[in-house]
């Protein structure tokens, strides 16, 4: 089963819609609730990152029998130092993002904690690609 979402930067009123859609799809497939939780948290944080930092992006979700794969691609400022960005508490979020309740520097660590595989690469000034796999 495959889903493709277009994510609009800075649009917090719809951020989370992709994660919500996937959550429903996984529930319908009777996926283990603990796995659903991991998948949706990782996906939600990735989605929020695109909204918070990028101009726009796409998220492709592949629900397979043995795993769920998420391909997150955005066009935006990119991450200057990925290693730093993975550190809990490190954030480059703007004040308006912090006011939305995000930007505390836990998004990427939250993804890492929940994923079985998490690969991320970024080019400053261009954007970021992330590949997340959670085994079922």
């Amino acid at each position: 089963m495959e889903f493709l979402f277009e994510i609009e930067g800075a649009n917090f009123s719809v951020a989370g819609n992709a994660s919500s859609t996937i959550k429903r799809a996984l529930k319908q497939r009777n996926v283990d609730p603990a796995k659903i939780k991991r998948i949706v948290v990782a996906l939600f944080e990735a989605e929020i990152n695109v909204v918070a930092h990028a101009d726009h992006g796409t998220i492709r979700v592949l629900i397979e029998d043995h795993q769920v794969q998420m391909f997150v691609k955005d066009f935006g400022p990119g991450i200057e130092d990925v290693k730093e960005a993975m550190r809990e508490g490190y954030s480059t979020a703007s004040n308006s993002v912090r006011e939305m309740g995000f930007g505390a520097g836990m998004g990427l660590p939250n993804i890492k904690r929940n994923a079985d595989v998490f690969e991320i690469e970024s080019v400053k000034g261009l954007g970021t690609n992330a590949h997340i796999i959670i085994y079922l």
């Binding site: 508490g89 004040n95 912090r98 006011e99 309740g101 505390a104």
Partner: protein
Amino acid sequence: MKLSEIIKNLDLVVLNAANEDADITSAYASDLLSDVMGNAQAEELWITMQTHKNVAAIASLKDIPAVVLINNGKPDEDMLAHAKLENVAVLVTNLACYEFCAKLYNLINCEL
């Protein structure tokens, strides 16, 4: 209740000592800076998990005598430096927000 007593009773770690004689009757728990700017009262304790420099700056602007960082928060270097400059106490607790607020509230209210 005096800040020094609160520090003792709730086992707070002191990263910047200041205002230990301040009489604390209430606290404001928030991580949203504009909420704090708009609503926190002078002489209230500010409870937060935010650790960046803006916290010290806002505390000083709002005459908040002390900031309590929950979850063992480590303040950024420039936050601590600014707090020292502005005479804002920086205290740390290993408790999460709910538990810390609850204990502080009951501590202060039992005294009143």
